[in-house]
């Protein structure tokens, strides 16, 4: 009886080891707005990245609505005749083509195939937005003790912003 139990335990260990290594191989990471999220990508061979609607929301904050792909007030309509390029129903899951969406919103995508990592850069609507207003773009960064500071906190003072590096 004990032998049988050990056998089962060993089998269980082996099975979980195998399945976890399979999961590692299929690991996909999406970096969006500088934040990384593990997603389950479609296993079908494709140069595009298809993710589930749940992962779309988790990784990017965007959701698909009748009027388009939206986050808060921001909405990008999908071209009516090309919806199949962006949304695919397969079995119980609905998949979204995040790389086709990036092309639509003019967003750079860098991919590392080996590590299953996709970096989504700034969309066109986010780039160079200060060039018309000349308002210095805000940022929030830590000091050496980890305390966060925003440029906007210094409104009312003249600010000399200087970048440097140790290298």
């Amino acid at each position: 009886m004990i032998k049988v139990l050990i056998c089962f335990a060993l089998f269980g260990l082996l099975a979980s080891a195998t399945s976890s290594s399979a999961a590692d191989n299929a690991r996909t990471v999406v970096i969006y707005d500088g934040r990384s999220t593990d997603v389950s990508a479609s296993a079908e061979p494709s140069k595009d990245l298809w993710i589930t609607m749940d992962d779309l929301k988790r990784a990017t904050g965007f959701v698909v609505k009748p009027q388009g792909v939206c986050r808060d007030e921001l909405c990008f309509p999908l071209p009516a005749k090309r919806k199949d390029e962006f949304i695919l129903k397969k079995g119980k899951a609905t998949w979204f083509n995040l790389t086709a969406f990036a092309t639509l919103v003019k967003q750079p995508v860098a991919r590392d195939e080996k590590n299953g990592t996709w970096y989504f850069g700034k969309r066109e609507d986010e780039r160079g937005t200060y060039l018309a207003s000349l308002e210095a773009p805000n940022f929030t960064l830590p000091d050496i003790s980890g305390k966060m500071h925003s440029l906007a906190d210094y409104r009312g003072k003249k600010v000399l912003l200087i970048t440097w590096a140790s290298w």
């Binding site: 750079p108 440029l151 600010v159 200087i162």
Partner: protein, 210 residues
């Protein structure tokens, strides 16, 4: 940094702040010792994702931007040395620039060194599509490096450098994280020699004070 600390301390103006930002993938590990040694009274931040390099479309260090009380850019990206330690290499004299800052701090938007809106706009350009793609490749490379995949990061650092060849931040940072000779077949000094008299920094134009 000790130079800026002395400059800031001597100016002693409560309506003037220096925000210095280290562009260092290694974060506190690489930049921390310099900040600790300088004991700055001004704001010293650490940017381990090169957020400011991207946001302000910067290509080199040190680069400064003047921002007025209303949060508007009144002098965009330009080289900003506090002393002449490396003058032999780049030929930039720190003195006139420090005088310009003192004038700005004293006179605000009336200073001759504050640019008109039109001039600021003429000097600022939206990032090119190559630059935007370089930003993404560089950020991906940084992510891989920080997650223990330094070798896998190298092709992406190289792609960022290819897309934005004038960007010294993207070159020097990548070389510093690696054996530059072995992995990139070059070094900072070799690349500077290749300039062959071409300026290392975009020339800075300061008006004459009347």
């Amino acid at each position: 940094m000790p130079g800026w600390q002395k400059f800031y301390h001597d100016l002693n103006d409560k309506n003037f702040e220096i925000i210095s930002i280290a562009q260092d993938t290694g974060g506190v590990k690489d930049a921390g010792q310099w900040i600790t040694a300088a004991k700055p009274e001004y704001t010293a931040l650490i940017d381990d994702k090169h957020v400011v390099t991207q946001l302000y479309n910067m290509v080199n260090v040190p680069t400064a931007v003047w921002i007025n009380e209303k949060g508007m850019i009144v002098r965009p990206n330009e080289v900003a040395y506090v002393d002449n330690r490396y003058k032999a290499m780049h030929g930039i004299d720190a003195g006139p620039y420090l005088d310009a800052i003192r004038d700005w701090v004293a006179n605000g938007d009336r200073s001759v060194f504050v640019m008109k809106e039109k001039e600021v706009k003429e000097r600022l350009n939206p990032p090119s599509s190559d630059r935007t793609m370089a930003d993404a490749e560089f950020a991906l490379a940084e992510y891989l490096y920080k997650n223990g995949h330094g070798d896998d990061a190298i092709p992406h650092f190289k792609e960022a450098q290819r897309l934005d060849p004038e960007n010294w931040n993207y070159k020097r940072q990548a070389w510093a994280l690696s054996d530059a000779e072995k992995n990139y077949g070059t070094s900072f000094m070799k690349e500077v020699q290749k300039l062959n008299g071409k300026p290392y920094y975009a020339p800075r134009k300061l008006p004459q004070k009347p």
